[in-house]
Structures are given as C-alpha cells and as structure tokens.
Amino acid sequence: MTDVVMPQMGESIVEGTLTKWLKKPGEHVDRDEPLFEISTDKVDTEIPSPAAGTLSEVMVEEGKTVGINTVVARIEENGAVAAPAAAQPDASSQSPVGAGHARPEQAAPVEAAAPEPPPFVEAPASSQPTVEEPAPAEPAGPLSPLVRKLARENNLDLSRIKGTGAGGRITKQDVEGYLAQKPAAAAAEPARPPAPQPAPVAPVAATPAPLAPTHPAKTRVEPLSTMRIKIAEHMVLSKRTSAHVTTIHRVDMTAVAQMRERNKAAFQTNYGFSLTYLPFITRAAVVALRQFPLLNASLDGNNIIYHNEINIGIAVALENGLIVPVIRGADEKNVLGLQRAVVDLAARARSRQLKPDEVLGGTFSITNFGSFGSLVGTPIINQPQVAILGVGTVDKTPVVINDAIAIRSICHVSLSFDHRLIDGALADQFMSRIKQVLEGWTEEVQ
C-alpha cells in the first residue's frame, strides 16, 4: 500500500487545490502516469503516480484544498514491488506522459475538448531531439547534417520531400530535386510568414508571400532576417523624416597620429586593446556637441528636445547587419575610456551580448567607414537624432602648408545633418570645432 500525498511544489506553497482526478478508484495506474492535477495560484500541475497498482482509495475530492504532505489517495500494489513513499512531481523515471493508459480525454484534455488543431504538416509530431524551426516537423528517420543544412538554408519543410535513400531517408539529391522542381513553392515557405492578418485558424505555412516564379539557376530567393527588415525600415524612415544634407571637412590628423603612435604600445600592454583614431574623433565630437547643443537634440513635432546627456551611438558592422550601441555619458570619458567603451560594445555587439539599454538613448551617432577604406561617405541619420558623423580613412597625403608641400595624415570627416533643424552655417561651425580640436590635439589620452 502506497500513500499518495499532496506534493511540495516550492517553499512558498503550503497548500494546493486538487482540481481533477485523472483516475477513478479501482482503476489501474502505472508508476509515473499522471494521477491527479493540482492548482496553486495560476499554475496547474499534473502529478504522476508514485507507484504502479490499483487506485484503492481517494481521500480528497476534486475542488478541495489541502496542505502539503496530506495523504490524498492510496495505491494497492499488484505485485510486491517496493515503491517510494510519496508522489513527487519530479519522479526520476522518464516514461512519456500519458503513455496510452490514461483515459485520453483526461490525459490530453485539449485534444478532447476541441477538435484536433490543424497539424503543422502531415508527419506525426514525434519527439525529434532537434527542432530548428517551429513550422516544419522533421520526417521520421535520421537526416544527414548536409540535408539539414540544405533544408535550413532553403527554408524547406522536409516532410514534403519524398526520401529515396535507405529506409526512405531523404538524401541531398532528393532535396536538390525538390528545389529544382518547385522553386516558387520552396521559396515561399518562410519560417515567420510576415503576413499582416492571417485568418485565425490558417496553418502557419499557408500564408506565403506571393513570389514571381523564377528560374532556380538564375536566382536564389531568401527571406530577410529580422535585423535586415529593421534596418531597411529604419533607413527608409530616416530618409523620409529628415531633410538630409552632408558637409565634408578635411582634417589634418597628424597631431593625433603622433599622440596615437606614442601611446599605441602602452595601450596594448596595459589594457589589452589597440588605440585607434575613433576615440579621438569621438572626444572631439563631444567637445563640439557641448558647444553646439542643437546637434545633440531631437525634433518632436514643433518642439526641439535638447538632451542634457551626450550619448554617442557607434555604428558597428555585423556579419549581416548593423547595430548602433551607445556610449552613455560620453562627455565623462577621456580617450582611454572611450576606446575601452568602443572595444567592449563592438565585441559584445558581434557576439550578440548587448543589453537592451545599451542600444537605447543615443543622442548623436558616429560611423567609421574609414576602417573599410572609404574616403568619404554620406551617412543616413539615426532617428530621432539630427546628425551623424562619418569618418573616412586616415591617409598620408601631400598637402600645401604655407606654400610648401608637406606630408600629413589626412582624414575626411563628413556630417549628415537634418536641415529641418540645422542650417549649413551651424553644421560647418560644428565641424570646424571638431577639426580644431583634432588638429591641435594636446590632451593626454590616459
């Protein structure tokens, strides 16, 4: 005889309401088979039987609330099998839930109470260890990593492909054959159909965006990633919102280059990262933003919002996208602090470890396309900011100084600004200030 007790569901829980018996007295129950359900707070819990045998006695009726460890039922073992003393929701045995013995309408109440929901695919929803995507269930039988990869890359529902390999296994040839055969259908199976208003009971995969039929050899169709969609939306939104104008200044970076040369090795030794031009430019921008706060503002209808904090967004290129993490309180940091922040944010942006507030709240942005070799760019403003600074590559260039030719480190710095709020004269004053700070650099960097 085994006593079944109200289990302890956590320190904070002292009682539970027995909501449903899944077995009737006299019925047989297997060990670990769901026996009853309890409700605590807004949580329903299925309690498996602690032993196999016949449910001989039920002491607590449905709807009653009892304290933990109260005996709620007794089970008469059929054999002489030793059983643990109490029902434990974490019984160590891992037999599948409701393995055929429980009355189906109670072990799986949803199926009983409502018509079977439309399945994802024809294949039975078996317990496959790897479920990459929600919609396509994998067909029975093992799949090679290559087939999985192909399916993933092409967003294929493998259950629709007939396997010709050993034991009906899907081979690479099957997938390729399917792709060649049904190019449009194959392309139109996005994992996240972006259809705005699908009918409430339409299956997920039934709302493909219509795509023109294309020849597989000449094109390849791939759905945009969420990040790509965001970037696309934001770029177009910005172009539509702001009256973009770009002004370009040539900056002599020789003083900065010398400062950088002097400190480069020490940075690597002391801090473990290199010293680049970006923190110098950021520092110069901060100084100029303090002097011209309109560049550190936002436009809200007919109001200007001046931001008291200077939070600089730094554009970071990712493998398939772009993100703009923010250096908060950038005016409180020197070149070392800025470089540290840039290195940290960029590394975590690339490993997708940024915290949400680290991409929020920027008041001005800098994009450093010079690191990819670009001389000059005309960046798009990061809304709702009103200006963005683009930094070109720093090259040794012959320039004329006092009617003599000299070799200097030259950088082209561009500013795209919102002409709704900022006029060219102000933008160029702002740029002149940046140029002045950089060309006459004296501040120590650490």
Partner: protein, 227 residues
C-alpha cells in the same frame, strides 16, 4: 549557466503554438533539449483554462465567429483570457528542477520579468497581492497562466503591448471584473520586437540563464519618448 533557446516565432496560430509546446515539453522532460523561451503573437483567440468557467465567456459562438475570434479550451492554470495581435505572448518551457523547484517562485519571477520590462519603457507596473498577473494601478497589463508536468513548465504570460483592448469585451478576463490596459494605452509606442528584446534580457537575468538576445532594432528605431 544554463542555456535557454529563444524562439521568436512571430504570428502563429494558438493551436500550432500549443502543439509545438507539447512537443518541446516532452523533449524537455526527456532532457533532449535545453530550456526554451517561445515568443509569439496570436491571431484573435479566446482561451479557457482547465479550471475556467465558460460563463466568463460573454459572447456567443456566433458573435465570436463574426468578430473573427477563435475559441480554444486549454490545459493551463487560470480562467479565461484573450490573445490577439499586438500582444506579446511568452511560453517558457523550463525544467524547474534546475531552477528553484518552486512553482510559486516561478510565477513571481515571471511577474518580475514583466515588471522590469515595463519599467524599462517607463511604466510603473506592480503586483496585486493574491491576484497573479501584472497590474498598472488597478488595470491588468499582463496575464499569467501556467501548466506544469514533471516540473517542466508550459504556457506562460501575455503582455498587452498594443493590443486592441476592445476584444476583451467578449470575456471576463481571468474571471475578474477588472479593467485591462496596454503599453500603447499608457502612451508607450513600442513594437513587439522592441519589447521582446528588452524582455529577453530580463528573462535571462531573473532565471539566471544564458539566452541570445532577440534581433535588436536600431537604437533610433525605438520610439521611446523623449530620451
């Protein structure tokens, strides 16, 4: 630190999400997969918890059908609720044995995740003792309903981001005659992706698990007022 697999499924049928949950719960119970967090949005649907009361559904089947709202009994805790576009629905599938083995603490932790997320958007939300869920003043902004089998959780929470609140007229939410609200109704314009991104971070913190953040939006694309 434990891993938690994040699945952002976009708009998905309630029935399909339920099916996926069942599969993942079975796999989680067998230790075949890590903990999971499903973030979804549902088309209009009214769902009734196992111990719910059908009389809390105020509309007839015909009215629901005309409004394009499906009806679905389900096996979670709690009474009746509505899901629909603009609502961020989260289904954590966690093995609580690897967390705190505490059902009450689990529900409080879900509330904490939601409260912290709302705080990041400038909304001061909180709890009302003995009424599970997250509230702003006397209005419910997020509902919670959970099912547990062998310590593995399913179902979860529904946060009204920009939900059309008029759909709640068809039900008595959770059997409580209290008003509902949404982030949009409180003046916060945010997309489900934005909220999901913030929520994911808090989820990882509260449940002490490693999970990749949702695809982040660009800083400026967030419509947070004013910075």
């Amino acid at each position: 630190m434990r891993n938690c697999c994040l699945r952002e499924l976009g708009r998905i049928d309630y029935a399909n999400a339920l099916e996926l949950q069942r599969r993942l719960v079975a796999e989680r119970q067998q230790g075949l997969v890590d903990d999971q967090l499903l973030l979804v949005e549902h088309p209009h649907v009214v769902t009734l918890g196992r111990n719910g009361h059908r009389e809390n559904l105020l509309a007839s089947d015909e009215i629901l059908e005309r409004a394009g709202v499906a009806f679905h009994p389900t096996d979670r805790g709690g009474d009746i609720t509505y899901h629909g576009p603009g609502q961020l629905v989260g289904y954590p599938i966690l093995d609580l044995r690897q967390w705190k083995r505490d059902v009450g603490a689990y529900v409080r932790a879900l509330e904490e995740v939601l409260i912290a997320t709302l705080a990041d958007f400038g909304i001061a939300a909180g709890r009302i003792p003995s009424l599970t869920g997250v509230w702003v003043q006397e209005r419910k902004i997020a509902a919670i309903g959970v099912h547990i089998a062998r310590w593995v959780t399913s179902h979860g929470f529904a946060l009204n981001v920009s939900t059309d609140l008029s759909y709640f007229q068809y039900i008595v939410p959770c059997g409580l005659t209290r008003p509902v609200t949404s982030m949009a109704a409180l003046g916060v314009r945010a997309t489900l992706e934005d909220v999901g991104y913030v929520l994911t971070a808090h989820f990882g913190r509260v449940f002490d698990c490693e999970l990749p953040l949702a695809a982040p939006a660009l800083a400026g694309a967030r419509k947070r007022e004013p910075i």
